[in-house]
């Protein structure tokens, strides 16, 4: 169980790192779905309701699929200027480890590590991004990360949030009213 939780946490962190390093629709969608799957795996391994974990995964997957419909085409990974985001991904993981601290010995703690890392990294991306599509992707990741910190209600709410954000258009509006 602990190994599964750790794998899920690492997967979630990798997913959100991918999300934060991506600027185009495919990269964003892949990052989001990886994050959702990782978080769901960690949640299930840490003893949450499997149905809620599954809902989280499904919500994340749906959200990532919806992300594929608009935004900049391609993967858009590691564009010039993304080095700080890469460094941030590593630092955030360390910060999450610091926050969870002694809890790392138990699956719940490990799952929380993943969720905190996802939430922090998604937030950082959201605070620094300018364009709609990456903002929506990061928002969905933030919702997933926060939801994964809670119980059944949180996971369900995160799933709903991810889908809801997926429905919003990622296409840039013309003019100042973007």
């Amino acid at each position: 169980m602990e190994a599964a939780a750790a794998a899920g946490a690492v997967l979630a962190w990798l997913g959100v790192s991918l999300l934060s390093l991506a600027d185009a629709r495919r990269g964003l969608a892949l990052g989001l779905v990886t994050t959702a799957l990782g978080l769901a795996l960690a949640a299930a391994a840490s003893g949450r309701q499997p149905s809620a974990a599954a809902a989280l995964a499904a919500g994340g997957a749906a959200g990532s699929l919806l992300r594929l419909r608009d935004g900049e085409p391609g993967w858009g990974l590691m564009r010039p200027g993304s080095t700080p985001r890469l460094v941030a991904a590593l630092l955030v993981f360390l910060a999450a480890v610091l926050l969870v601290g002694a809890g790392l010995g138990v699956p719940t703690g490990v799952a929380r590590l993943g969720a905190i890392a996802v939430a922090l990294l998604a937030l950082l991306r959201l605070l620094t991004v300018e364009r709609r599509s990456p903002a929506l992707g990061s928002g969905a990741a933030l919702a997933l990360g926060l939801g994964a910190l809670g119980g059944g209600t949180g996971l369900m709410a995160a799933a709903v949030a991810a889908v809801a954000l997926g429905t919003l258009s990622g296409a840039e509006a013309p003019g100042p009213g973007r």
Partner: protein, 388 residues
């Protein structure tokens, strides 16, 4: 019927907005009914708050140009629904999660600033609230709990878009996408339920309670000072209005942070005043023409209202928050007094912005004055209704 038909003779907004409006109305209804049981539970203060929000939405729709009314109505219903949900969901973490889509929904409306710029505040608030709540409940060293308490307190401040998490204000920005949506409409709902959620489960250790209280009181005083001086000195009128919200929020935060009966009552009344009086006035200020050379008495009475003097809504708030502060530690009352006295300075400027309203605006203003009078004269009844 004819009037209703006339309203709906507007060009239809996007289907998704109609859908969202319907969903908002449905959510409001569900929250009021408490369905499904256990998942959605609207506490009495939030019910009263919702009752004050409805007229604010109605006023926003009523004041809109004919072509935009249905769209405004849908947006308002979404706002009502969001407010009801944020107040009804018992799990704070779920609330934090839901803040994200609500924030995006508000930011997605057409506006001058980009979506990402407008969503930053709510996103930060959600993260602070969620992470803080998680840290509060997680086992670990004491500093982790204090950090969680800080996160929860800062989360509330960030939801309201208050100091130090102020959002950029632009003249001419539509109300539903401006700071008003959060500072004047959605955040009060959260502000009212947060202390109940925190106090209900007795989750806070004294140490953590101290952190929450100190941060709320400290930032409340900061907002009070910022608002009182800013609304008086700032060059932009839109910013002056936003700063006047900060004064109300300052009183409310201090009241909340004192964790004391009178303080909570003050916060409750301040939030009702924000929704029932300040927000409608800010909406009116966007449409009313500038003041002429000879002000009418109605506009002059507004100065008294905006200064928080009796018999209007500001007075009981000041009385209760002063009482709470003095009971805890009398020096706390000094910044409150200074802000109360300074409020007289910016009231004149804001009232002038409302000018001499006529027609619809004048009727709207009269309604707001009546609401403020009710809040100012019989706060006891409202406290009874809210169970405070």
């Amino acid at each position: 019927m004819t009037a209703l038909r006339a309203w709906f003779r507007d060009p239809r907004p996007g289907w998704w907005l109609l859908l969202a409006g319907a969903a908002g109305a449905a959510m409001t209804l569900l929250c009021l009914l408490g369905r499904p049981p256990g998942t959605l539970l609207l506490p009495p203060p939030s019910r009263v708050l919702l009752a004050f929000s409805a007229p604010a939405v109605a006023l926003m729709v009523w004041l809109a140009p004919r072509g935009d009314r249905l769209e405004r109505l849908c947006a308002g219903l979404v706002g009502l629904g969001s407010q009801a949900v944020l107040a009804s969901v018992p799990d704070l973490l779920a609330v934090a999660v839901l803040l994200v889509p609500v924030g995006f929904a508000v930011a997605a409306r057409p506006g001058r600033r980009s979506l990402s710029a407008r969503v930053r505040g709510p996103a930060l608030a959600a993260a602070l609230l969620g992470l803080g709540w998680a840290l509060l409940r997680s086992p670990g060293p004491a500093w982790l709990g204090r950090l969680g308490a800080l996160g929860v307190a800062l989360g509330l401040v960030a939801v309201g878009g208050l100091v130090p998490y102020l959002q950029e204000v632009e003249d001419g920005e539509p109300a539903e996408t401006s700071y008003l949506a959060w500072t004047g409409f959605l955040a009060p709902a959260l502000a009212l339920v947060l202390p109940f959620r925190l106090l209900q489960g007795h989750l806070l250790t004294p140490d953590e309670g101290m952190v929450v209280g100190a941060v709320l009181v400290g930032l409340g005083a900061l907002n009070l000072a910022w608002g009182a001086v800013g609304a008086w000195r700032t060059a932009s009128l839109a910013e002056a209005w936003r700063d006047s919200f900060l004064v109300d929020w300052g009183f409310a935060l201090i009241g909340l942070g004192l964790f004391e009966r009178d303080g909570l009552a003050a916060a409750y009344l301040a939030m009702l005043a924000v929704l029932g009086v300040r927000t409608p006035l800010a909406l009116l200020a966007r449409t009313a023409p500038a003041a002429g050379t000879s002000p009418r008495p109605l506009a002059l009475v507004l100065v008294v209202l905006l200064a928080g003097a009796a018999p209007f809504s500001g007075f009981p708030v000041r009385l209760l928050v002063l009482r709470a502060a003095t009971e805890l530690a009398w020096p706390l009352a000094i910044p409150l007094l200074m802000a109360m006295a300074l409020a007289a300075a910016h009231a004149l400027r804001l009232a002038r912005a409302l000018g001499s309203p006529r027609g619809r605006d004048a009727i709207g203003l009269a309604v707001v004055l009546a609401v403020s009078l009710v809040l100012g004269l019989v706060p006891g009844i409202l406290r009874g209704l809210g169970g405070i």
